[in-house]
Symmetry: C3
Subunit: 137 residues, 3 copies
């Protein structure tokens, strides 16, 4: 059994953004030399998500509008009593999910045609780390 760990850093220009990271994850799986196994991908932060969906700009816009509807940015969250202003970011990350686990088969991500891995940033403009952990043989 082998494992391989890589941490990458992302700093988005916008506070809220979606970044496609499929190629980066694929590259790390290649580096690992692992042919059969699993790869876990997650932000090391609690106001960001890693998720799998369609690489279509309209849909990414739909996500942002829908998240705003379900958990408005402007609401006076209890969390803000600590001096924070990112209550919504924690809720958006909850809706989009923290992590994804992807199967590795024959040395590559075992994906359907339209599956793409995204990093969802909900409180950016600062360095954020993504953890990629590969396990298998």
């Amino acid at each position: 059994m082998k494992t391989y760990t890589k941490k990458i850093t992302i700093n988005t220009e916008k506070r809220i953004d979606f970044i496609r990271i499929t190629d980066k994850v694929r590259e790390v799986v290649g580096e690992s030399g692992i042919k059969e196994g699993l790869v876990l991908v997650n932000p090391m932060h609690i106001t960001a998500s890693v998720f799998i969906n369609d690489n279509e700009s309209g849909l990414l816009k739909d996500f942002e509008e829908w998240l705003e509807k379900l958990a408005p940015k402007d609401k006076d969250y209890n969390h803000h009593q600590t001096g924070e202003d990112n209550g919504f970011s924690h809720l958006w990350r909850t809706l989009m999910g923290r992590e994804t686990t992807v199967a590795i088969t024959e040395g590559d991500l075992d994906f359907g045609t339209w599956e793409e891995i995204f990093y969802g940033e909900f409180d950016g403009q600062r360095d954020k780390r993504i953890l990629i952990k590969v396990i298998g043989e």
Copy 2:
């Protein structure tokens, strides 16, 4: 360490449906010969979910009504500018989650009494694949 990969195909009669797949996943774990480890189950599509909940028809109806409330089918999503009509399917899949990872102990799914694995189809009536990846020993 061993791994085992199986892909199964589902084609639902209805556009939206929930299919219990616990027995199928259990069968694949049996075929794998793996006694201790993890099994990852996910659709290879971005308008479907794999999730764990109760096998109770009223609750499955509740899920559908609730998803409709949080992300209505009829809304004019940005995604529809591509010619698609399934914006809601992507959002429903997000709410229900993409994947589940289940522990395997003593050769079986390590489940509580009421845990059942479901495939949630949100844009069906076509062939869709589910990936089952077993890893362990």
Copy 3:
């Protein structure tokens, strides 16, 4: 390859509660002797969640208020025709997610500064089990 399985029992005083379980998971990873791998943590019940977010009491209150808004306790769910009164618990668990998978690196949870593991109870006041499965080497 090694695996290690532990089940812990929680019985909350309140029907709805959030319990930080990071230290317990860390302890189990230590017991396992596994230095590199993954740990899966999930409730063995369908009205509870395991998730990762901030250990801040205001935010935990925000979660509860927000869940109530998206899936009210008092609604007459179809599920209640079975005699149950916990339709909302199943939906809240869906929003918060069932499980988390965490990377283990150098014998410890590979976490960012603010990541904490929580058990979210949505129908408590009874014994509930949490499964911790460690896999690696």
